[in-house]
Each structure stands twice: as C-alpha cells, then as structure tokens.
C-alpha cells in the first residue's frame, strides 16, 4: 500500500466521523481528565444514551489544555459546530443529554465555547476565549481533537507526510532543513537541534541510537505526558525522521513508569506504525530500518539527565557521567547517540510536514517556534498552553492564565521547575525565551511554570525546591550531594526562625560552589531557586533572619493565629473544626487559641465566616488577646 492509499483511507475514516449524521461526543480522557472524574461521566453518558436509545459516536480524546475545566465533554450534532462543556458532573451530563442531545437546547449557560465552523447563539468561539486566544497550538494541534489510539486520525490531519517527505531527502538535507528552522532543544538547555543531529550523524560508527527523553520529573510539569497521551504519533514520527537523518537503527523512549496511559498509548501507536510500515524493517520501501523500544523509568529525577538516562537504559543505577565524551560520540552502550526531549521530536515532525519557512515565522530571532508550558500554581486558569517564544511573562500569566487566583497580588513565577529560578514582578515584562530567562538567573527548562501569590514565601519555596533536588541527587559528586544538603539545612533553620547573621552570604557561597563544581545539570542548576530568591527577595530573607518574621505569613514557626475578641461571635465553627483541639471557648464565650497546642494548620483562618473575619495571622508580634475564654460583651449578637 502506498502512502497515498493510506492517506486516502485515513481521510475517509476521519470524514466519516466528522461528517457523520450521528451525534458525536468527545471525552477528554487523558490522565488529567480521568483524575477529575472522566470515567464516571463516561459511564453516566453511556447509560443515559442507552436509556433513551440514542446512538452516538463517543471518542476518547487527549487533553485540550484547559485543565482547570476538567472533566471536559464536547458534543457535536450533525451540521452544528462542536460545543465544549467544562467542569462536568454526572448530573450536568444527564442535563445535557436531555437538553441538547434530545431537545436541541445547547445550554449556553454551561457551554465554554464552540469549535469549528458555524456558530451557536450565545456561545463564543472556544479559540477566542481568553485562555486560548493568544496561544499558537502547533505541537498540541491534535491534542483534544483526535483519538490518540487511532493512527488514521493523525494521518488524516497531515500526519506522517513529514516522514514521507523526509525519506525522499538525503540526511544532510533533513539536517539542513532543521538548522534553518531554528529549532532548539525543548528539554531546557536550548541547544540547536539541527546541529545536535549533525554531530551524531557525523560521528564515526555504524551503530547509532536515538532516544526520546520522556522522563518528565519536575514537580508540577505535565507537558510531555499530555502530548504523549493526546498525540503519540507526532513524537514517533519525529523519531523516525530523526533516525533517517542521523542513521540510527534503534530508538528508545525513556518514559517514566508513573505515566501508564502514555506508555500504553505509545505501545498501541508503535504497533499501528509497524502495520503501516512506518516502523520496522524497510520503512516505506526505502530500505531504512528502525525499531523503537519503550523503556520504563523508575522515577528518579536525575534520570532526566541524558547520561544518567543512558546508564539507566543500560541497566545501571541512574548516575550521570562527566562529559566529554558527549553522547553524540559515545552515548548509549558507548555508541553515538542523539537524545532529544518529547517536544523536540514532535517539533521536528511538524517542521518536516510544513517546512522550515512556516515554522520559523513563530518566535523570536534566536528562539524560534513555540513552546508548551504547564501553567500551574496560584493562577486562575491552570493548564497546558503553547505560545510562541518571546511572549512576555505578563501575557502568559494574565492574558492566558487569567491572573493570580482570587485576585491576590502576584509575587513570583518559577520557570524551569526545581532547577529554574523564581522571577519577580519586575521580570513580568521580559520575554520568555532562552536568553532572557538565562539573563534573569532562571532557565527555560522543559516548561514548568509555577505562579505564586503574595502568600507564598520565597524562602519556603527555595527550601522546598532544594530539598527536592537534594533528595533526588544521585550522590555521585560531592557539591551536589552534600552542598545542597547544607543549603537545605540552612534554609530550614531560617524558616524555623533560627537564621543567623551571615546565612545569606553562606547560602550564596555554597550555591556558587554547587553551581560551578557539580558534575551534571542537576547539581549545576539546583541552587537556582535559592540564588534567584536571594537576588529578588532579599528583604524576605532578612525579615526571616533578623526580625524572625515571615512577610508572606507562610512559615509556620514564624506566624501565630489569634482570634480577635472584638470580632469573635462565639459561633463555635473554628472550635469544632480545629484538628488540634487548640481552641478554647463555648457558647457566648469569646474563643481563644491555645498557642502551645496550635499546629498552625490554618483551618480556623479558613473556616471563620468572612463576615466575622475574626481569625488573624500575624508574624513577629504578639497580640494582646485574653488568655482564657471570656464572656461576650452585652449587646453583641
């Protein structure tokens, strides 16, 4: 079967779905959707449809990126655009089946937006909603639209045309095309991909390997997972393209075992590719052989580092080794190896499909193309986004993310996960590209972006990230193994209110040693959160050390909770909810917190009715409140 036949059949299948005269229902069933309850929604839906004897096509799709709206359900009725509904519950699902599928009322009150041609009254275009409006979805173009377990859906939307084009070109031409596109590694370091491929291609040796790094370990990052779950073929196509350009006959996907759905979908996808002749011996009749092995990682953060990852594939403990020799010369099993991130492989496929001219129109002069980010933290609209490089942090956080949660003040954004830096308000207008982030002391990383509000303490954040990297250090080199531990101890001391004069300087000194002295990227970037928070939030550190205050009211040892006697209405709510039984009081008795018993969990602060606002959090001061419950003053409610 030629590719033209395959494509014709695929388009046929896709059209018969898209233009079918049945109701089509798309369920967001990536891990994020499933976690939010997509399975119960889907069960409910099937039951309701069966009850009413309606036949509908239900398609499980990947994540469209609006994680805060999960579970998502899209419904398309023949001749109408697709309408998205978010935050679904089984109850809402039943309502929708009754109102829209049976009675043709699209329920604009529940709808998020419409997708595709045509419009429905009262419902805006989903891609014109603030979250999606300024995004450019290239890598994620198929996520949420196609069934990731159907190769024909991918082919019908232009998939594998890049591979077909690649196979007509010489490896040098492919590499030249990538170089022109300006694609840089999406794993974080931003090394030009074309150049990287060229090193490996030119390296002497008959046997070469390529690896897809899907060991996404940053806390709060899920770009690779969503892509592999929503559109695995785009990554696999990129890898086959790379194998042709580099001359590799064996590829590995190193995916963490915590991503069972991604691994399952990759396995399905590779089987389908073999059936169509995109993988295996004599690919598409060109004589090129290439196989892919999916290797499950056991979850060590350091295995995201390329040399540690290769050691892990070889069956050793995941520990990095010094470079040179670089993997392009001696990598996996000592053979020339090219390793790229999931997103880089997917971008390579797009570039070969649409050409370098098209791809390089996005982004800035030095950072071309788009980048996906996992936008999380104290932000209104969390989710997976894709923007052209060079967009400002402000537009990402405020336009796409909708600003800080609950209208609070923006404090900082952590880019690049635990190895990145904390960027303050003053950096909001700087563009997000490799150079600008590096200049600000942070890194692009693989795309985690954690937004923090005024109640996030930068010292506490630094402590959290350094304890993460400390615990994930492989133990091989001294600065990373023990330097980070010393930093963690000092930060812990500061957060506990035992900071000493000179601690900041000590942290900076150790931080610089760890940065310059460590063996691999994990250690070299581990002090970044500490160094950037010292750089941008030195006042917070000094308040912790000298005044024993936590200005963000986060560090438990530096804050106290009080009940204001003139505001307390003796409603007993906080008293009943306190898990430590630290609140004394009774009916018509002003409540008092026993400071010795208080664990500072903040429950009383959260449960005190807003209209009373009687519980306060203070730092560094003692409020003059009664020690024992006192009767309420006469005249109060």
């Amino acid at each position: 079967m030629t590719f033209e036949d395959i494509r014709a059949a695929a388009i046929n299948e896709w059209d018969s779905l898209e233009k079918s005269d049945q109701v089509r229902i798309y369920l967001g069933s990536a891990t994020c959707g499933r976690a939010a309850g997509a399975k119960t929604i889907s069960d409910e839906l099937e039951e309701e449809l069966q009850k009413r004897n309606i036949s509908a096509v239900i398609t499980q799709v990947g994540c469209i990126g609006s994680c805060y709206l999960e579970p998502l359900v899209d419904i398309t009725k023949p001749g109408k655009p697709r309408i998205s509904y978010g935050n679904m519950t089984p109850k809402k699902m039943v309502e929708l089946v009754d109102d829209y599928i049976v009675n043709d009322n699209p329920r604009p009150d529940l709808a998020l937006g419409s997708i595709g041609e045509g419009s429905v009254e009262g419902i805006t275009d989903f891609f014109q909603t603030p979250m999606l409006k300024s995004q450019v979805r290239i890598i994620l173009r198929n996520c949420g639209f196609i069934d990731p377990e159907k190769i024909n859906h991918y082919i019908a939307r232009g998939g594998y045309s890049g591979l077909v084009r690649t196979l007509t070109m010489t490896p040098d031409q492919v590499i030249e095309e990538l170089k022109k596109s300006g694609l840089r590694g999406r794993g974080g370091a931003g090394f030009p991909t074309g150049q990287k491929w060229e090193f490996c291609q030119r390296a002497p040796g008959n046997e070469k390997y390529i690896i897809c790094n899907a060991d996404e370990g940053d806390p709060g990052a899920f770009m690779n997972r969503s892509l592999l779950e929503g559109d695995p073929h785009s990554v696999l196509e990129g890898m086959v393209i790379g194998s042709h350009a580099i001359g590799a006959s064996q590829g590995y996907i190193y995916c963490r075992a915590e991503y069972p759905l991604a691994i399952e979908r990759l396995k399905i996808a590779t089987d389908q590719m073999r059936k169509y002749g995109f993988l295996g011996k004599n690919i598409m009749g060109t004589g090129h052989n290439f196989e892919i092995v999916i290797k499950e990682g056991a979850g060590a953060f350091v295995c995201g580092e390329e040399t540690a990852l290769m050691a892990s594939i070889e069956g050793k403990r995941g520990m990095p080794r010094p470079r040179p020799p670089f993997p392009a010369i001696a990598g996996l099993w000592g053979k020339p190896t090219n390793i790229n991130n999931v997103e880089t492989w997917a971008a390579a496929a797009v570039i070969m499909q649409r050409g370098w001219e098209w791809y390089s129109q996005f982004g800035t002069e030095k950072s071309k193309g788009t980048k996906t980010f996992a936008l999380v933290g104290k932000i209104e609209r969390t989710g997976l986004i894709e923007v052209p490089l060079g967009m400002t942090l402000r537009s990402i956080i405020y336009d796409i993310g909708g600003g800080v949660l609950d209208g609070k003040e923006f404090k900082a954004a952590q880019t690049g996960g635990p190895s990145g830096g904390c960027l303050p308000q003053s950096n909001l207008d700087s563009p997000v590209d490799y150079e600008s982030l590096a200049a600000a002391g942070s890194i692009m990383g693989s795309g985690g972006m954690i937004v923090m509000d005024e109640n996030t303490c930068p010292v506490d954040i630094a402590r959290y990230f350094i304890s993460f990297t400390q615990g994930e250090s492989c133990g091989k080199c001294v600065p990373c193994r023990l330097g980070t531990r010393q930093m963690q101890k000092i930060l812990q001391r500061i957060c506990n209110g035992n900071g000493e004069q000179g601690d900041i300087e000590k942290l900076q000194k150790i931080g610089e040693t760890v940065k310059t002295g460590s063996l691999c990227g994990l250690g070299q970037t581990a002090p970044n959160p500490v160094l950037t928070t010292i750089r941008y939030f030195r006042d917070d550190y000094e308040a912790h050390i000298h005044d024993k205050k936590c200005p963000s009211l986060t560090c438990k040892d530096l804050i106290r909770f009080y009940i204001l006697p003139d505001k307390c209405q003796a409603c007993l709510i906080c008293l009943r909810n306190c898990p430590a039984e630290a609140i004394l009081g009774g009916k018509r008795m002003i409540h008092v917190i026993d400071q010795d018993k208080c664990t500072k969990c903040g429950t009383c602060f959260d449960v005190c009715p807003k209209k009373f606002d009687a519980v306060v959090r203070v730092t560094g001061e003692k409020l003059d409140v009664p020690d024992e419950p006192v009767p309420m003053l006469a005249g109060k409610a």
Partner: protein, 369 residues
C-alpha cells in the same frame, strides 16, 4: 605509541596517547589532589578535587576524566582552583570526622590520652585505623584548609562487622565509590554498590544488608582501596619488619608483603608493585597465610601411618617406603597429586615422574580456590 607534549603549570611534560590529564600530571610528579581517582578504576569525576583549568575550556574540568591532547595548557593550582577545592572539601567534612585535620597533636596522642579537643570517642583520630595514613588528611593538608568553620554532625550509622576479616564503619565514608568500583570492575562481584539517594547515599550491599550475607568473596580489595578509615581490616597489628614474598597458595604467584614481629607472621598485605597481582589478593592469600604458617596442625615432617597411628619419619625413610610400595601397583592404579605450595619446577618434575617413570596420566594439583 605517539607521545603528547603538554604544559602543566608552566612545565613542559610528555604524556602517553590516551592518558588523562591527571595521569599525565602524576606521571610527571605534579600532584593534583583527588579522592575518588584510582589508577586501576574507571574515572567518575565525583569528588571534584582534581578540577583544573585548561585553556580553551569554559568551565573548570575534572582532570581525571579529560584526555590529554597535544599542546594542551593546564593549570592545576590557581588561587581560584584552590578556593574551589577548599569549598568542595567543606561538604565532605560535614559528614566525616574532621577534628584530626586541624590538631597539632595528631601524631602525639595515644589511645588513652584525654582528647585536647573534647572530640567524641567515635570521632577521635586515635580511633581511626587510617590516622596519619589517610588520603583525606593529605588532601586537606595540600589545599591548606584551616579557615572554614565546619558544621559536622555524626551520622550514627551502625558499624557492619559481619565479615570475619574486615569491618565497615560508614560514618567515615566519603562516598568516593572506590570500593564499589573495585568490587564491580576489578573483581566482577558487585557485592558493594551505591544505594539510597541524595545526602543519604551510601556505599554498601543492596538493601544495606550485612556484607557477610551477600556474594562478597572477602578478598579485601575494597578495604585496600578505601582512602579513609571507613573500611578496615579487623586484625592488623603493627609489624616490626616487612618482607616481600610470593604467595604459596596456588600457582599464580601473587606478590605479597608479610609483616612479622618476633619471627612470627602477624599480617599480610598485597604487594602493590607486583606485576602479577598489582595489589590484589584472594581471601586465602590475604587472610589465611598467617593462620596457616603458625597452625599447630601444620605438617612439618613426613608421617607414616602404621596401624592407624601416624608417626614421624625422616624424608629418606619415607621415600623408601613409597618407592617400595609403588612397585606393587600397575601404572593405571596409581595417581599423583602434587601441591601448588611447591615450586613450578617441583610440579614439573612430579608430573614427569608420573608420566615417564610410573607410566600414568592420573596427575592433578590443588591449584584452585
């Protein structure tokens, strides 16, 4: 083989093709401090002490992993490097007892003296088997580290003394990884490896089992490779004289050093200069010789079995008896077993005697572990 010319600290030196910068420096008597480097083992670049400055390189690089190239310009002791080393040592000393490093009485104290620095017994220099023979002390001395206040805390890890010949006190371990590499790369046993993560990483058997419950062959190579006092031989009294000799346990001919006192063998060490074994011994050679030499059951004269009783005879008499009895058997009824404690020449004569005089091919030797 091509010779490389490079400059290290302004000195023009020659190095063999393929050697590392560190090896080139050490060959030319330029000392670069290191802890994880061992000439027989793969380089890991873990201790970060051998960092050097090489012209054309952006960062400081560990000299143990960088191959020397022609006309390379290397600097090993710029003030920045010394500073970096001093700071890289800091974390090590936060986990390794370090009072000995700054004490002038290091060499003077006896085991029962009151410690001048009020150091806990577990951390005292006099309790460390490698005191004043310690690579960490040597490195600290080289980088002249006496200026930084170290926050040391005892890790309180249990001492593993399950093995009859050596003990492992990981409270002194600096995780250079030499023991696990020697066990994996030289011995091919893999009884010791790195386990745990981050600051809790340790070298030891999988699941922190006692070493005796693993596939450890008790060769003691890990102990010999330890730069500090974390691994130590249990029974190693100080010898009066040391004599180089060859192990008699088998035909390999490993070189060893016998430590003797009052004409008795009291300890045995592998001879690092021996071309045969390059500083490694098996469990028999390492730990059994001193027991064997002075054992009361050891045979020193021939014995004749007369009616269930062994009685000593002289050698000529014994040979006469053997010769007379051998005549009573056909050649295929006789076997000759010789000892690997004999010389190669003796063994050669024994098999020649068996084949030519007795006419049998039933020949064997005990040369195996």
């Amino acid at each position: 083989m091509e010779t490389l010319n490079l400059s290290i600290d302004g000195k023009e030196v020659k190095a063999k093709q393929g050697s590392t910068v560190l090896a080139a420096a050490l060959d030319n008597e330029i000392y670069i401090p290191s802890l994880c480097f061992h000439p027989h083992l793969s380089a890991t670049g873990g201790c970060r002490l051998c960092v050097v400055e090489i012209e054309g390189y952006k960062d400081y690089v560990p000299s143990c992993t960088i191959s020397a190239t022609d006309s390379m310009v290397v600097r090993t002791s710029t003030p920045q490097l010394l500073q970096l080393r001093r700071e890289a040592l800091n974390p090590i000393l936060s986990q390794h007892p370090c009072a000995c490093l700054m004490c002038w009485r290091q060499k003077k104290c006896g085991p029962d003296d009151i410690c001048l620095r009020n150091v806990a017994v577990t951390d005292r220099c006099v309790t460390c088997p490698r005191n004043y023979n310690c690579e960490l002390q040597q490195v600290v001395c080289h980088v002249n580290k006496n200026d930084v206040k170290i926050e040391y805390s005892y890790r309180n890890l249990p001492i593993d003394d399950s093995n009859p010949f050596f003990a492992r006190d990981l409270n002194r371990c600096i995780l250079c990884g030499r023991c696990s590499r020697v066990c994996n790369e030289i011995r091919g046993i893999g009884a010791v490896n790195v386990y745990n993560w981050g600051g809790d990483s340790l070298n030891g058997p999988f699941g922190s089992k006692p070493i005796f419950d693993t596939n450890c062959i008790s060769c003691g190579a890990c102990v010999s490779s330890c730069p500090v006092g974390a691994l130590y031989f249990k029974d190693s009294p100080k010898a009066e004289t040391e004599t180089k000799t060859t192990c008699t346990y088998c035909g390999v001919g490993c070189g060893l050093v016998l430590g003797t006192r009052e004409n008795k063998v009291i300890n045995v060490y592998p001879d690092k200069e021996s071309e045969v074994n390059k500083g490694y011994l098996c469990v028999k050679g390492h730990f059994a010789i001193k027991e064997m030499v002075h054992h009361p059951d050891r045979l020193t004269v021939p014995l004749i079995n007369c009616g269930g009783q062994f009685s000593p005879v002289n050698l000529d008499e014994a040979l006469n008896i053997v010769a007379s009895r051998l005549r009573n058997y056909r050649s295929d009824e006789v076997a000759v077993i010789s000892s690997s404690k004999c010389t190669n020449e003796d063994n050669y004569v024994a098999q020649k005697f068996a084949r030519v005089v007795l006419g049998t091919n039933n020949v064997d030797n005990c040369a195996r572990l």
